[in-house]
């Protein structure tokens, strides 16, 4: 089984490049252009050196690029096949949908990191040097958290990109309206919704050589993996046809 899917992964990579990689690079190029023109940058931030200004621009750039990359990377990853009925012929073959989609998610993760590398190369060429490993780590964390949630939503509904946008917005809005320390409802909201707030500012921390707090790191990664596994459970138990 894994041998078959291992061989098929080459085609999944090709699909990623055509359907997601190229659009992601286009979005990355547009964001780079905006950054180069000053539309994305450390406006209003008092920075003494141009190196720091570049890092601050990079931090904001990554905070915009990472969610977009994840949205492009996982949108329709399961629901697309349901919507277009592609699953009918695919899963009449001796293939487990669970493994097939887990592979597709991993291919998407790898492709997103590769596309990020190319975009970062563009950033360095046009705007100045930034730490590549730290930038990749930020996008990786974003993908594991937000991409795990996206995978779950794609397994549940064909309106997954809308649902992902709603979850993303709710995670920000409800946390600002119901702070965790002030009520039991706030604590519940904080526990249930994806901890996107822990990634806010994380790009700046990582780019400036700092580290993400271990508890926060575990919560981010744990939440993302739990959502991914929940998606696997949904795929295993929910009939493909409706």
């Amino acid at each position: 089984m894994s041998g078959r899917l291992g061989r098929y992964a080459a085609y999944q990579c090709r699909d990623y490049v055509r359907e997601r990689g190229i659009p992601l690079l286009l979005v990355g190029a547009l964001l780079l252009l905006m950054a180069e023109r000053g539309a994305i940058g450390a406006g209003g931030v008092d920075l003494s050196g141009s190196g720091l200004r570049t890092l601050a621009t990079a931090a904001i750039f990554l905070e915009l690029f990472a969610p977009t990359a994840v949205l492009i990377g996982v949108n329709g990853i399961v629901s697309g096949d349901r919507k277009h009925s592609y699953y009918r012929l695919l899963f009449a073959k001796p293939v487990s949908p669970v493994r097939y989609y887990a592979h597709a998610w991993l291919v998407s993760l790898a492709g997103t990191l590769l596309a990020t590398l190319l975009v970062l190369a563009g950033f360095i060429a046009f705007l100045g040097s930034i730490p590549v490993a730290a930038s990749l780590q930020f996008v990786l964390l974003y993908f594991v958290l937000f991409g795990g949630v996206g995978f779950l939503l794609s397994a549940i509904t064909e309106y997954d990109w809308v649902a992902l946008g709603v979850v993303w917005s709710l995670a920000w809005l409800l946390r600002s309206w119901l702070p965790a320390g002030e009520s039991w409802l706030g604590r519940m909201v904080d526990a249930i919704l994806p901890p996107l707030h822990l990634l806010a500012g994380a790009s700046a921390t990582l780019l400036s050589g700092g580290r993400i707090d271990t508890h926060a790191w575990l919560w981010i990664v744990g939440y993302g993996i739990a959502a991914f596994l929940a998606g696997i459970l949904v795929i295993r138990n929910r009939p493909m046809a409706s």
Binding site: R7, S85, Y86, Y87, R88, L89, F91, A92, P94, A241
Partner: protein
């Protein structure tokens, strides 16, 4: 007429079917609580070496039944098995050759590329891959379309591509849903020959079709569905050439349709 049965009773089945439906019922429930019984108490066995047709008017429950057989839907009650296993268990182990009524293949894929993908998923060894793909391309007359993308194919050619991918895995179970749909007369004739070629002692073939003449010429038995039930099971050697009459009688109306 003793070989025309109404319904199906497993007590009369000497050998265990490769494909078995046992008292399958599927009820759809809307969010408002309305229910539709798409399939009700349906039983049928398709044995090794059998070519069995499944016919019935639109809405008779044929598609629901195929979805249940492939594990894409769960029955509300009863069971469907392939080779004695739950459908997904069997399919994820051995696969089935399946042609869906709607041939849904990514339109951006090229024909040969699509067949290579399906062959890999079907478990065809790398060393046999090109030969197997070339074989089905030749059998289904797809050579001149190999480099075209799926979106460029006519309905009939797409249907042949769907049939080609179903044959890649050389499966012991074939489920062909409206296989001649959209084929021109010459390919319809060729399809009849193909079904003959696909017959073998260890293989069970379930052929879903609206075309009674096609079924008369290609299958051993026809299960006629009406309103979700197995209305008649017609042995073709006994019934030929009167499948149409059986069909009319079986699907005439609720009061006239047989119930298992």
């Amino acid at each position: 007429m003793d070989r025309v049965r109404v319904g199906f009773d497993f007590r009369f089945c000497r050998t265990r079917g490769v494909i078995e439906f046992r008292e399958v019922t599927r009820i759809y429930r809307s969010p408002l609580g309305r229910t539709v019984r798409a399939v009700e108490g349906f039983s049928l066995a398709v044995n090794r070496g059998d070519v069995v047709g499944l016919a019935g008017p639109n809405g008779a429950g044929k598609s629901t039944l195929i979805n249940i057989l492939l594990g894409y839907l769960k029955p509300t009650s009863g069971s469907a098995t392939i080779g004695g296993l739950q459908p997904r268990e069997y399919i994820e182990r051995d696969g089935v050759g399946y042609l869906s009524e709607l041939v849904a293949i990514n339109p951006a894929w090229r024909v040969r590329d699509a067949l290579r993908r399906f062959a890999i998923l079907a478990g065809v060894a790398e060393s046999d891959l090109s030969a197997r793909v070339s074989d089905v391309v030749a059998r289904l007359g797809l050579a001149e379309h190999e480099r075209k993308s799926v979106r460029q194919l006519s309905k009939g050619t797409l249907q042949r591509l769907g049939l080609a991918q179903a044959l890649l895995g050389d499966s012991d179970v074939l489920v062909l849903d409206e296989p001649a749909h959209g084929l021109d007369p010459s390919w319809t004739l060729r399809f009849r020959d193909l079904v003959g070629e696909l017959r073998r002692p260890g293989r069970a073939i379930l052929l879903v079709s609206h075309d009674l003449h096609e079924l008369e010429r290609t299958v051993d038995r026809v299960a006629i569905m009406h309103r979700g039930r197995l209305a008649r099971l017609v042995e073709m050697d006994a019934a030929r050439p009167s499948l149409e009459r059986h069909y009319r009688e079986a699907t005439a109306g609720p009061e006239e349709s047989g119930t298992p």
